[in-house]
Amino acid sequence: MTESIEISELTKKFEKITAVDGVSLDVRRGEVFGFLGPNAAGKSTTVKIAATLLEPTKGTIQVEGHDVQNEPVSVRAITGLLPEDGANTHYDRLSAYKNLEYFGHLYDVPAEKLHDRIERLLEFLELKDRRDESPATFSTGLKQKLSIARSMIHDPSVVFLDEPTSSLDPIMSKRVREFIDTQAEGGKQTFFLCTHLLSEVEALCDRVGFISRGVLVEVGRPKDLRRKFWTLRTFEVKLTDPNLQKSVDIISSTGLVQSVSIEGKRVIFEVEDAETKNPQIIRALMEAGHQVVEVREHVPDLEAVYLKVIGGN
């Protein structure tokens, strides 16, 4: 079995709202999976069901082969959760260290390992010098990092992170991303990441799922999704000939492109099936005596893909 999380036909209804609507999704072991969607899409609800905090109305989730409804305790034992608004979920009456120690005990971390693990997490997340203070005295970012440490305290096989960097400044976010990246490198831990931040997904995730209004719209590698939604590719051409309008006319007259225009000192064209058409376009330019210095593709970022997928829904 290589599936770490298997979601099948998952539906969750609250009184009036269907928060999750027939979602099926597999996440592989060792994968960093990004779960993307606008507000109220059903991301957190899905995570809460996977973490056995909510019960599905229909469908199932299996985490490492354990069913969330039939074996909830086994699921929780191997699962780490950074809840939404995780920064504000600490016991202010305990020190940061004691918070982690308490959860270590609740997760059955052997006493001889617990101390080292806490130290290691505090060290890595740069919380060490604040360890004996109450989280109440922490900034939001520090609290968030403590939540991240808490979600990893038992070295879980599967980690659900609901907007891990939402309250962090860019430097903190980067550090946390690096932390997740390092953890994921071993390939033993599976990460399921809810986020609005496309840059985060782009930087971290092996695969991504788009959810909108409870419905899973797309799943795939960021690269593949881009290709799928960008059948029309955009290229810019740099030429030695300063008379760009002439180049535009030549490209246009090939009848191969969707559009062509001048932008600054370059010619931009859009084309379907670039593999076969680009050589012909370039040959036409060369034959007319125009020297091509450079051809570069405009790669759309994930944000553009996202807007297209979600917008189209």
Partner: protein, 246 residues
């Protein structure tokens, strides 16, 4: 089951005693036992209520405030702080994400309220008995051990237990509605009130301490405890707790 629940209760007890309201009760209880209990006993003797029946009646009446009413406030406040407070302070979700079973969680909450509640109630009972009989020994030795009689003693032993149990069940049930510990404290008043009525019903009926009222009260309380416990078990599951707290 007990190991995990105890682990949880141990940490929670340490935490609830950081609440000023919770901390105040044991201090108040001890002060009342020593000063109020001592002065009252001395005054009773001074007024010449030195025949055993009168002395026991007066002392039982007044001391039930000290050994029953005050101590039962503690589990009420603790239960409010540890159950509704968990919601107010947003610490419930990570706790529910641990491998604790629903039963362990609920047991942990019961232990959190019961253990300090009973320690304070019984410790205070010992103290009150010592103070009253200490005064008696000094000024009217023939009244030694007249108070507490068996019935007062049984009341002081059983009622804090039954009321503490009631308090936890009650707080679990209201935790769906109450969002702040403060609201929960107010609801706690509904527990103190029947306790007061019960503790004084014998006196209100002009019967003094009365075995029949005692048995009747115990039966009612045990039934109430059981019913509330069953409701609490039913409500105390993750889906319900999370849905209602968002």
């Amino acid at each position: 089951m007990w190991k995990k629940a105890w682990l949880m209760a141990r940490t929670e007890i340490r935490m609830v005693f950081k609440s000023r309201q919770v901390k105040t009760i044991p201090i108040m209880v001890v002060i009342m036992s020593v000063i109020f209990g001592g002065l009252w006993t001395y005054w009773t003797l001074l007024m010449g209520l030195t025949n055993p029946a009168d002395f026991n009646f007066m002392t039982s009446t007044i001391m039930s405030i000290v050994i029953i009413m005050l101590p039962i406030m503690l589990p009420v406040l603790i239960a409010a702080d540890s159950i509704v407070g968990e919601k107010e302070r947003h610490t419930l979700v990570p706790l529910l994400a641990t491998p604790l079973t629903d039963g362990e969680l609920l047991l942990g909450k019961y232990l959190t309220a019961l253990i300090p509640g009973l320690l304070v109630a019984y410790g205070n009972l010992l103290l009150a008995v010592a103070v009253v009989n200490g005064i008696v020994l000094l000024f009217a030795p023939h009244l030694l051990w007249v108070w507490p009689d068996t019935l007062s003693l049984l009341q002081a032993l059983i009622l804090p237990l039954l009321f503490a149990f009631l308090a936890v069940g009650m707080m679990v049930i209201i935790s769906g509605r109450a969002n702040t510990v403060y609201e929960a404290y107010q609801t706690g008043g509904f527990i103190i009130l029947p306790a007061m009525v019960f503790a004084y019903s014998g006196f209100l009926a002009g019967l003094g301490l009365n075995w029949m009222i005692f048995y009747l009260g115990i039966i009612i309380l045990v039934i109430a405890d059981f019913v509330l416990y069953r409701v609490a078990v039913k409500l105390f599951n993750r889906d319900n707790l999370i849905v209602r707290s968002g």
